[in-house]
């Protein structure tokens, strides 16, 4: 919910935002009508993925940044399609 206030304030100030958050808080994104968001099906506290899972972090971020170029209205919320990767190394 906190980030929803920040997003709304920034958009009103003319700064477009894109948000990465976990599925458990999808309802918050919807209630706050977050302008653009990628929802990851990851555990709370790890919205970009597991520690040191660099490729996954970058992939999620690229999807979030692409929303800046494609979204045409507030409340553009999309789901990241991949599962949380388990670190085996």
């Amino acid at each position: 919910m906190s980030v929803g206030h920040v997003a709304r304030g920034l958009e009103e100030a003319g700064i477009a935002t894109t948000t990465i958050m976990v599925e458990a808080f999808r309802h918050r994104a919807e209630q706050m009508v977050v302008p653009r968001a990628v929802i990851t099906r990851f555990p709370m506290g790890r919205p970009l993925g597991a520690p040191h899972d660099t490729d996954r972090h970058l992939d999620v971020m690229r999807m979030a940044f692409s929303l800046l170029e494609t979204a045409t209205e507030s409340g553009t919320i999309v789901s990241y399609p991949q599962a949380y990767r388990v670190q085996t190394a």
Partner: protein
């Protein structure tokens, strides 16, 4: 084990209902699983039984990903709004929308997280509080005024620490990039995905008074605007 030992610590005489609730700011205090408090007893029992079944399977397969997926599913169910819940404090039908003015590859982009990361030599109020104290004092945080910390983009990830009473910070402490992707921003600038980076990023612990946050917001927006950025990546936890 003495007869008068605390049942929530020893498990002796503890009901399953007490057990599942003990993970949420109780004797077991494991924020990864505090969502069990928000499930029905039957759903919490089914969750644990499924995880144990999958643990047994993992003895043979070595694959723990089904357990992780079960926990994520249970967390989503635990946090989902319930009919008996109070209505949300804030709910909107629409929201402001600043149209994108430039390609990301030509834009200056900032970063703001609610993870509670901060520079070790810029400890926000209450200064010096430990993570354990932050968890113990979560009710106080939820009534308090948040501090917006600044983290220069050139900061070494080793100089960044994290404190937040609302979630399990283990991953965020091991690698801040899971919720404050300072290194990933550098990498995306280097490969040309991002045009340029803001000089300063921002962080605060999102477990805070929403009313007090809103009162701080105009001043925060002014500080952020001074970064002259086109876009902001927001990462709540």
């Amino acid at each position: 084990m003495s007869d008068d030992a605390d049942a929530s610590v020893t498990g002796v005489g503890e009901t399953f209902d007490e057990f599942r609730r003990s993970f949420s700011y109780g004797s077991r205090g494991n924020l990864n699983f505090k969502f069990m408090k928000s499930m029905s007893e039957a759903d919490a029992a089914a969750f644990l039984a499924t995880v144990l079944q999958q643990l047994g399977d993992a003895y043979d397969t070595g694959d723990v990903s089904p357990m992780i997926e079960t926990a994520i599913e249970a967390q989503i169910a635990g946090y989902a709004p319930k009919p008996a819940d109070m209505p949300p404090m804030f709910e909107f039908d629409s929201g402001p929308f600043a149209p994108a003015k430039t390609q990301v590859s030509e834009a200056t982009i900032g970063l703001l997280t609610t993870s509670g990361h901060f520079l070790e030599d810029d400890d926000p109020e209450p200064e010096g509080m430990t993570q354990a104290e932050a968890v113990d004092r979560i009710s106080e945080s939820l009534r308090g005024t948040p501090t917006l910390s600044e983290i220069p983009r050139t900061s070494d990830v080793e100089s960044i620490t994290v404190r937040h009473g609302g979630y399990d910070i283990t991953s965020a402490a091991i690698d801040p990039n899971v919720s404050f992707p300072i290194d990933r921003m550098n990498e995306l600038e280097r490969d040309g995905t991002i045009g340029a980076l803001a000089s300063t990023y921002f962080s605060f612990p999102g477990a805070t008074s929403q009313g007090r946050l809103k009162r701080e917001l105009d001043a925060w927006i002014d500080r952020i605007k001074a970064e002259n950025l086109d876009y902001m990546l927001l990462v709540p936890v």
